[in-house]
Structures are given as structure tokens and as C-alpha cells.
Symmetry: C2
Subunit: 710 residues, 2 copies
């Protein structure tokens, strides 16, 4: 819409101020060509839609949302759609605070007329039609979809369009045609390392619905916990979960909740490694006698199932049979990652078995295990999926590979005829910025060279929330809002990749996800207050000024940098547990510095804002000091507080030099850069995010366009 | 504790730097005298206890709270205590994020040893012993109480003591002896005018538990809704509630939930006025034939029960009989307020009845109604309570008066032998600051002159949350944190009345109430985001800068100032619905101005902070303008935004004059004061809170100590 206005403004400028008619005609033609030739990704209207639909055409005017707003279901209908409409109306009430009638309207009088053509599959399948079309005019709205999956998606699109306007709450007139690029758009949550309560699972399903994600991959067992009730093998949960597990009724509830939101639930039981918790109750499954205890540490451990005993497969046959009935989805995830093979190496019997069967190495032994496992999974009506370690040409083409170690294995699998999904690049626990996840495309890298038929085997991707450092309190803030950038990558066209646009929409989505019940913002607040204790408002403000410029250490460095070895029993109440994995304030500060420098440091407003920020940082350590003295949890971050103040002082000096257009001596720059190298290092497992931006300013103050523009 | 340290510091200063021995001795004696002669209210240690206990003696050292923390119940025990301990441990986990074992410990090994002497009453009664004693040492903690009510209170005191320290989470060593001043410490919630969902009721009971309030007065019927399921008279809820009512199971759940927290539930069914919703299903109860509809407007309306028909009392006998079984509490609230008598005046039959029975006027007719009602209430085993309109010497002394129209009626009732509770001065919906509620004492005014025996009849008080302008979303922010100041008034000694101390502790309590699930802070945030729509972070910050200096209009002016007549269906999504009833930022700004002026405007730090604040205000309207253009809900407050900027500019001018010690011409002052008078008026039903403080600065800039101190 703003683009349309921009176009009109330029046109009227040309018409009013270019008096040479020939030049005027030329400019108008050029303008038209420019607008037409823009790449698809840049033609997005300024609507806060995320993921961006396949096609959006803005109309004229808008549809008011007031207390007369009503919905009618026509065509095919079912209880799920009725519940979906009621949920939609409740969400709309939450967004507007306008009391609405939750009962369906007669079709002739409805503001929103829904037409669904036919049912979707009884058990939701990968690759079902999820398309919909949405037409909003000032008179009303029509949502048309082949089946309920598209209808549910279309309702979410409508909710994103509702915003406060000059005329109250309204939706701009628009015509949207939409369908996903990939059929598999998943989020994996690890409920094994830390137990994640049901209500947290549910609110994350609400978040997935808002972002049109359609697969909840549930990591349900690992060394640190077995989280599902088995009636056949009750010692799994009784001895393997510390009492923290989901009953079969809980599981059924979650599956129904997910289905209502167009989401499949794929269970994962990781085997033959990552399975210590199984062995507490059933040590006979393992490759060494035991006894076993629930693992409290993080990492890769030795215990693994014994692939050489028939009893292992008998157990798995019965167990998978039970779970296959509990989880209706066609896919069954067997894990298969990170088997270190040490128990296998150490077992005389296993070594003898390998020799007797000509199994060359542990990788081949795991392939043997998978060859035995796959028919069991198939026998129970499921299609096997596993991490990329299970990729082996001896397995039938029905299995699916989840690529976590790199994008190459995804392409390799597709080339060999296997289906695959991408998770490499989508690990939420590594603490990457949304922009970095956003840049990862399942079809890039080796996949770009696949044939069209091979490419079809790439079903999509999944973000992964591994739970070493998350629990019920902070998990939302580790998933959201960054996960929304992955949702857009998997739904929208590959050409939709304007990072600035993504972040602008992400800010809006992030607020609205809180309205849906997610706690990624409020939990940060809560945790910060715990850290601050009974601080004064001024002290708390100082703590916030510090923490909003901090992020936890990235990638796999958290264990290495830990002050004491972390376990599943370690309280997660430190600053590193509280601060978001991507600092919005830090990102905006970086953008401000870039803007300032891009304008040759002549942008007075940006300069003034930088100065205010630096001055606040420079004073902040003194403001925080009394609190740091009293609170152990604040004190841990005290060194970072001094660092932030040092950075503020450095920034002020750089701005002074720039405003005087008088570069400081070379020794100053050398000293600052040495300090900056120190500031870039983690302390208390915390990174100081604005350091690289201040480095740019120091560089700018000692040469280049800024100093030349005196 | 800080006071203790202060004492030691002053003593050591005297000993080290005062070398004249005679003077030194004199100073030390003087110092001792000063400390001893402090009023009780000021001797509070710097612990964040609210309500302040009867006696607090600080010990040496502190008790660490770590993962080994455990609790043992000894003496009398019951399931309620076991649930209470588990809830306590969960709350402690929430406060610290330290994983704790929820199972009780053997008494010898417990960190916290609880000893409860005996059971409390089966049905909680007014005036039961609620005392407890709590002794914390570095080695452990003992909580002793005569019965479970005191035990529950003591656990809450302990939770308030837990804070982050230099040594992790800890509780300072302390000995507390505590008991309430008044036995009746209530909160009334009006669920009739707007329906308040169960989870909101429950979280408010959690808040009451934290503040040791012991009566939940539930206003369940009014003109705008009848909110309880009656099986005997089902048209009450079927036709009188729009479907929004509590089932009898819901009610039983709430009562059990309250009892677990040491809280009685007193139901109120308002009669004979405030009862239109009854008449929708049962018009024969009314004094005019009907038909009736649920009232949507606010105010006092004509419909009233017909006190002259026997059928009215037959209905009430059956209805009260049913409700008396549902609500176990000994008290039954019959309302009785605001009968305007117009239906009575207009009814020939009623007028004839009055003549025949020698009933002089409508007040006497209501007294007749109450005389008939009271035996019905008593017959069903209950003691009648009502608003002060029911006070009539003809009623037996068993009834209790809830005084809302003034404090005099409370004393009058006590003098006549009736028991009473105070609500005048505790109406949360009037928007008073906490300090004003805090200053209202049930024993002040006429009550101060009562005999000791008469004073005993004053049982306590109740804050009241009338629901014209609250719903599930904003009700918490209308109750909390201000309600905590009333909780302290009713629990703590009359000498505890240091407003600054109360506010300092209230800030901490407010944060912790959010941890308990109350949403008074987060709902404001949520509503502000709705008002802002898809604002940029800068625009949102500008909106926040404005709204944190605003409060809704006070007392009963909301109807008169409304742009259109509000009803129970009016969306509550405006700025006036979102901003807290007491602005913490506004209060702190006022304190800063007072501090600055008290230091003859020579406090450089305060001056600098004021300047920063004024500069931000002065610029703020320009920052907010783009958003005000786009959002109808922001635009409504646009005039207040210009006012805030004007106030900022005025403040800067005053500071300039003060810093130059150069008073501006008299015409300047006249102009500013004229502007200030305009700024004091409501606009968009919003008050600009810092106006009086800026007025003080303008006065200071034009004379007085500040200008004399040149």
C-alpha cells in the first residue's frame, strides 16, 4: 500500500514539476518500467503478513471490524471447522476487545463467508492441498479453500490483516491467493532433556498455527528422560522420567489439539543411542549389563541398544506397536543420531556378531540395526524417518532423512531416491539471529543442482529446539519470535528474502504471539525481576539497559564456557538463561550505526540518538553497581556492565572525533581496537552485542568517508 | 536491617571523628535517644514484608535457599496443609527457579519445620485465631501456629522474605510474631456488571492469599446480570446472564480454592433494588408488571422487588435456602443499596399496602422488607449482612452493616450494637492512589470515640471492585497493586502508616503478584500494543512515554465525561481502559520534584533528571504524531500528547529560570498558571498526572526558597 502511494507521489511530482512534455513522457514510462521490473520479493505490500502469501493484490478501501462482525460456514463443514471459527472469533475479540457473537451467522448476513469444498484426509498427510484464497472488500470477505487445512490457514491470514486504523479496527481490501512452497514445515521440541509441560506444548502449537507450520515433531526420549507412558513397558516412564512424563491421554489431547490447528504430530523415540533413560527400567536392551541411571549431564554418552540380540527387536516390535496406535501420523521418527559405538566396541559378544555377519564397522552395525528396525516400523503401518546418520543405500526408498549435520546429506538422500527434510541451519538452540536462519533455503547448496524430480523429494524443513538450556519458563523465548523467520522460509516463495521486511513484520508477529499466550517477552521480564530481587526502579532500569545489549554465547560453546558443569538439575535463573537469543535492541543499534555511517556521519538525528545511547551506557555501570553488590545473579554480569560502560565511553569519543572531523592519533585507534577485541569475548557466557557496531564507528572516526566529509 | 547498619555507621563515625570525649558521649546518648524515640511505624526493618507483621526482630546471618530446602509438617495436620506446603514449594520454585523436592521431609531433616497445634473450624469463621510465629536462623526455620490459618499466613511471610542475596537466594535471620488487627479483611469483586471468568477469580484469590486477606465478597447479581446457576429458579441464569454465569460446581470449586488459602467466600445477592436481571425470568417479583430485559446501562434504575407480596418472600425463602446450602459461610449478603423507590411510588397496590400498615416512606418500606428478609436468612442458618441502607433499629443485633456511604454509619451501627465493616474509602474503582486508601482507618472518625466494647463490633473492612469499567482483561490492574495497601491497613497496627515505606514495599509486591499469575502489569502492556497496532518501536515508546503519565478520571465522573453513553457492551479498548488507575511514573516524578524543591533547587542530580524528563516530554508529541494519525485509539489521546509536550516545555523554562536564579516576568507566571488550569482538566477521560508537580516548579521559579538561594 505505501508502495502504491509512493508511485502516485512520484507520478504527480513528474506531472507537476517536469514541464518538458517529452521528458515527462519518458520519465513516466521509465517509472512504469521500474515498478514492473521489480523482483517479486520487493513488491510486497506493507501488510504485516508473515509468512508472506504467494500473491497479494491490494484493493481500495477497507472492511471495518465491529460488533456486527459474523462468520458463516458454507460448503463442506465439520466440527473442527466450527471449533476453528469459534477460536478465530475469540482471537479476533482478543485482538480488538470488541464483544462478538460466537454463534455462526446465516450465510446471507455474514461479514466473512467461508466456503470449504471437501474434507481433508482423516489422518492429516504430508502434501495435502493447503491452499486458500481470501478476498476482502469494504462490504465483506470471502474465504475459499479446497479443504479445512486451507480454511484454517486463511483465518490466520485474516487475523494478521486486522489492525487499528483511522476508522477503528479494520482490514484493508485485498485479494490473496496462497499456498505453501513446502508441504513439511515443522518445529521440533525436545521434551526429554527438560520436561516441557502440556500447557507449554499447547501454546507453542498455537504459535505454529499462527505461522502456518504443520508438523510438530516431538522428541520424547533421550538419555535424560523417557517422557511417554507405555502400558506395555511401564518401567520406561516409571524409572526413566523422575515422574515427569505424558500420559497416553495427554498425548491424545495434544494430537487432537494439533489436528484442530492443521498440525501433524510426529513422535520421535531416539534409538539405538541417546537411550540411557530406557535402560534404567530395561537394562537388557543395552549393549552392556548396567545398572543404569537417568543421565543428568549433557553430551553424547556410551549406552546404546544392543543391535545383535533378537530380544531387542522383540521389545521394539511391541513398543513400536503400542506407540504406532497412540500416534496416528504416518511417520515414525527413530532418531538414530550420535551413536559413539563405545559400548559396541567393548562388548565381546557384539564384536563376535559383527565378525560372524561380516559387519565392518559401527556405522555398518547401525545400518544393520536400521534394516531390522524399518520392517518393524512398516509392519505397524508407519513410514520411518530418522536423522541423517540412518542414510544407507540398503534401506528401502520409503524412509525419510532429517538432515542436521549439513545440507549435503539432504541432496545426497534425494539423489538416492529418499525423501528428506532440512534441519541443518534451523537449530534454534544455537542462538543464531533470525536473519541467519532466514537465509537458509532447503533448495540451496547441493540441492540447487538436483533434477526437478529429485527436488520434489525435499519435503521441507524443521526448526529444532533442543532442551539442554530451556525449561517451561524460558522455552518460548528460545523458540519465538525467531522461529517465525523459518516458518516464512518454508511457506513463502524463495524470492521472499528481504531481511529488513522480515524483521519489521517479525516485530509485529512477536507482539501478537504474546496475545496468543506465548510468553517469550513476559518470561524475560519475569526472570529479570527474579535476578534483580527487590531492586529500586532505577536499579532495575539499569539492569535492563545492560541485559538488552547481551545475548548468550552461540553454537555449542555453552558447555565449554560454563563456570561449573551444567546438568539437568542446574537452576536456570542466570542472566544467560533470561536474555533473548537475539537482542532486538542490539539489532536496532547496529542498524542505527549503519545508517549514520552510510550518510557519511552527517545524519544529525542518528548522531544525536547514538550520543544519547552512548551516554546512557557510559553512566550505566555506576547505576547498576549497588544492585550488583547485593545480588549474586546480577554480580555475575558485573564485568559485562563495566564493558558496556567502556563501550559507551568509546562511542562518545568516536562521535566527538567525527563531529570535529578531527581523527584522534593512531595510538588511540590501536588502543580502542585492542579493547574491542577483549570486549568481543564472552564473559559469564554473555556476548556484548553492540561491539562490532562500535568498532565500525571507531573505524569511521579514524578515516574513510566520515572524516573526508569535513 | 539497613537502619541497623546506619546506626552502626553513625556510631563509628562519632567514635572515630569526635575527639572531645564529653561531646562524643553526648552525641552517642542523643543518637540512642533518637533511635528509641522513633515512632513504631518508622522502626520497620527494610524487609519487603507487606502487610507489616506485628513484631519483627532481625537476627544475625541468613538462611540459604538451595535445592536441599525441605519442609516438614508436625503437630496437627490435614490435607489442606499438605496442599498448602506443596503450593508453597511451587511458589518458592517460581521465585528462585531452583528445582525442589515437593515431597515432605522427615521432621529432623527439614529446613522448615512447621508445627500446627490443632484444627481450625470446619467452616472458617470470622475471628478465628490467625496468628503465627516464624523464626529464621542460618540453620533453619520454625513456623508455629495454633491452627492452619496461621500456618498458611506464615508461609506467605516466608515467601516475601526470600530474595536474591550476595550468596544466592536467602532469607535473613528474623523472629516474627504476627496476628491481624482486624478479623475481616475482604475484597469484593462485582461479577455482575461484567462477567469475570473463573480463572480471573482464582488468580485474585492467589493475590489475596499473598496479602493475607481472608474474605472474598462475591457480588453475584445486579441489574446487568445474574451470575449463579439456580436449580430451583433456572430462569434466573438462563434469561438473566446472557449465558455468562457460574455453575454450582464452579462455585463449589471457588469455595474450596478459597478455603485452601484461608479465605471465606461471602455471596451477595443484591435486593430489593439492583435486581433487574432477576425480573427477566421472574417479572412477578418486581413492583411493576414488566416485561424486563437485562439492563445494559450503568446507574441506579427503577425496578425493585415488591416488598408487599407474600409471593416475594416465598420465592426468597426457596432461593436463599438453595444458596445457603451452596455457600457454606455463616454470612449471607443481601445488598440493600440504592433503592430509588420509583416503582414503589408508582404502584397503587404498594401505596395502599403502606397506608394500611402505617409505613411512612420508602425507607420504612425497605426496613419492612429487611425485617421480613432477616428471619428467612436466619432460618437457613445464616447471619445477614448488607450495605448501610439496611441499618434500622428494628432489626435484630445479629445483622452486620457494610458501610459504603461514609464512615459515620459504621460508628452509628456499632453504637447501636451492630457489627460492621468499612468499605467507604476502599472503593478501588474510584481510582484513588494507594496512599489515600492507606490513610483510611476503620477506627478513625466517629469510630475513634466508641467505647472499647463498641469498637470490637468493627470487624474490619473490604475493598470493593465495582465492574462498570473492568472485564477479565483489565480487572487485575484495577485491583492491584493498590489493594495491597488496604490489606496492610486491615492487618497491621494502626501505627504502621509511613506512606513512603508502603510504596517502596508495594513496588516489590506488585512484581511478585505478577509471578503469582496476576496480570495487572502485563495486561496494560497487551492493551497498549492493541492501541498502538503495528507501530514501530519508536512510536510505541512515544505512546508509552505519554500513557505512563496518564490516569483515568476519578470518582464518579466517568459516565459524565463519556463521549457516548457507555454500556455493558461497550468495547474496553481505549487508553482510559488500559492505563493503571495510579501511575507509578507520575508518583515518582512528583517525588523527584519535591526532592528538588526541598533542596532549594540545588540538587544537581535531581535537576538533571528533571531536565531529561522534560526534554523527552517536549519532543514526544512529534514522535507520537504519525501513530496518532493512523490509530483511532491513539488519536483519542492526541490532545493529551500535545499537553504533555507543553508541560515539558514549561518545565524546561522553569528549570532555566531556576538555574539562572532569574525569575521570569510576572506575565510569564500568569500565563503558565492559566495553562496549568487548562491542563488539569480531563480530556478523553484522561488526567495528566504531573501537572501539579510542574505547577510547584513554576511557583518555585517565580519566588520562594529556590530563587532566594542564588
Amino acid at each position: 500500500l505505501t508502495e502504491g502511494i509512493g508511485q502516485i507521489m512520484v507520478q504527480s511530482f513528474v506531472q507537476n514539476f517536469v514541464h518538458d512534455f517529452a521528458l515527462r513522457g519518458f520519465l513516466l514510462i521509465l517509472l512504469g518500467a521500474l515498478l514492473i521490473s521489480k523482483p517479486a520479493g520487493a513488491q510486497q505490500p506493507a501488510l504485516n503478513l508473515l509468512p508472506m502469501p504467494s500473491s497479494v493484490h491490494a484493493g481500495a478501501g477497507s472492511l471495518r471490524v465491529d460488533s456486527r462482525f459474523s462468520v458463516a460456514l458454507t460448503g463442506y463443514t465439520e466440527p473442527r471447522l466450527e471449533r476453528g471459527v469459534e477460536r478465530f472469533l475469540r482471537q479476533l475479540m482478543g485482538q480488538t476487545a470488541i464483544p462478538l457473537n460466537l454463534k455462526p451467522a446465516k450465510s446471507g448476513q455474514a461479514t466473512l463467508l467461508i466456503r470449504t469444498d471437501h474434507a481433508s484426509k482423516e489422518i492429516q498427510e504430508v502434501g495435502e492441498d493447503e491452499s486458500y484464497s481470501l478476498e476482502v472488500t469494504p462490504a465483506g470477505e470471502t474465504l475459499i479453500a479446497p479443504n479445512p487445512l486451507g480454511t484454517l490457514h486463511g483465518l490466520q491470514t485474516f487475523l494478521q490483516l486486522v489492525d487499528i486504523s483511522t476508522d477503528g479496527f479494520a482490514v484493508p481490501a485485498v485479494n490473496i491467493q496462497d499456498r505453501p512452497r513446502f508441504p513439511w514445515r515443522g518445529l521440533m521440541i525436545d521434551s526429554a532433556r527438560h520436561f516441557i509441560p502440556l500447557e507449554v506444548i499447547r501454546r507453542n502449537l498455537d504459535g505454529m498455527e499462527a505461522l502456518k507450520m504443520d508438523v510438530f515433531h516431538w522428541h520424547l526420549s533421550d538419555n535424560q528422560g523417557f517422557r511417554v507412558e507405555s502400558k506395555r513397558f511401564p518401567k520406561l516412564q516409571e524409572l526413566g522420567s523422575d515422574g515427569f512424563y505424558y500420559t497416553q491421554d495427554d498425548i491424545r489431547d495434544v494430537i487432537a489439539y494439533a489436528r484442530d490447528r492443521g498440525i501433524r504430530v510426529v513422535p520421535e523415540f531416539d534409538m539405538p543411542g541417546h537411550s540411557t533413560s530406557w535402560f534404567v527400567g530395561y537394562p537388557e536392551l543395552a549393549s552392556a549389563p548396567g545398572p543404569y541411571e537417568i543421565e543428568r549431564r549433557w553430551g553424547v554418552f556410551d549406552p546404546a541398544m544392543d543391535p545383535t540380540k533378537e530380544s531387542t527387536y522383540q521389545f521394539l516390535d511391541e513398543f513400536i506397536g503400542e506407540m504406532a496406535k497412540l500416534f496416528p501420523d504416518q511417520f515414525f521418527h527413530v532418531g538414530g543420531d550420535e551413536v559413539n559405538g563405545k559400548q559396541w566396541d567393548a562388548s565381546k559378544e557384539i564384536q563376535e556378531f559383527m565378525r560372524a555377519h561380516g559387519i565392518q564397522n559401527n556405522q555398518a552395525l547401525q545400518a544393520y540395526f536400521n534394516k531390522r528396525l524399518q520392517p518393524i516400523v512398516e509392519k505397524h503401518g508407519k513410514s520411518m524417518i530418522g536423522w541423517d546418520e540412518i542414510l544407507d543405500p540398503a534401506l528401502p526408498k520409503d524412509i525419510t532423512i532429517q538432515s542436521w549435520r549439513g545440507q549435503a546429506s539432504l541432496a545426497a538422500a534425494a539423489k538416492q531416491g529418499y525423501r528428506g527434510i532440512l534441519s541443518n541451519g534451523y537449530y534454534l538452540d544455537l542462538g543464531w539471529p533470525a536473519s541467519r536462519h532466514y537465509a537458509v533455503d532447503p533448495m540451496s547448496g547441493d540441492a540447487a543442482n538436483l533434477s526437478p524430480e529429485e527436488q520434489k523429494r525435499i519435503l521441507g524443513g524443521e526448526s529444532c529446539m533442543w532442551a539442554e538450556y530451556v525449561d517451561a519458563e524460558n522455552i518460548d523465548s528460545r523458540i519465538w519470535p525467531r522461529n517465525a523467520s523459518i516458518a516464512e522460509r518454508l511457506w513463502s516463495s524463495a524470492e521472499v528474502r528481504d531481511t529488513a521486511s522480515m524483521y519489521a513484520r517479525l516485530d509485529v508477529v512477536s507482539t501478537r504471539l504474546e496475545w496468543r499466550g506465548l510468553t517469550h517477552k513476559t518470561s524475560y521480564w519475569r526472570m529479570l525481576h527474579r535476578i534483580a530481587g527487590a531492586a529500586t526502579p532505577e536499579e532495575f532500569a539499569a539492569l535492563r539497559t545492560l541485559t538488552e545489549q547481551l545475548e548468550p554465547v552461540k553454537d555449542y560453546t555453552r558447555e565449554q564456557t560454563a563456570p561449573v558443569e551444567p546438568t539437568s538439575l542446574t537452576p536456570m535463573n542466570r542472566v544467560v538463561d533470561a536474555v533473548p537469543l537475539e537482542s532486538a535492541a542490539g539489532r536496532r543499534f547496529g542498524e542505527l550505526v549503519d545508517k549514520f555511517i552510510a550518510a557519511s556521519c552527517l545524519d544529525a538525528d542518528a548522531g544525536a540518538r547514538l550520543r544519547t545511547q552512548f551516554a546512557a551506557w557510559s553512566d550505566n555501570d555506576a547505576r547498576l553497581a549497588p544492585l550488583a553488590k547485593r545480588s549474586l545473579l546480577v554480580r555475575e554480569a558485573a564485568e559485562r556492565s563495566r564493558d558496556l560502560s567502556a563501550l559507551g565511553t568509546m562511542g562518545l569519543a568516536a562521535l566527538d572525533a567525527i563531529s570535529k572531523r578531527q581523527p584522534p592519533p593512531g595510538s588511540w585507534k590501536t588502543r580502542q581496537l585492542a579493547t574491542i577485541e577483549q570486549l568481543k569475548k564472552q564473559k559469564a557466557q554473555l556476548l556484548l552485542i553492540p561491539v562490532p557496531a562500535v568498532q565500525k564507528l571507531v573505524e569511521a572516526a579514524t578515516g574513510g568517508t566520515c572524516m573526508g566529509a569535513k
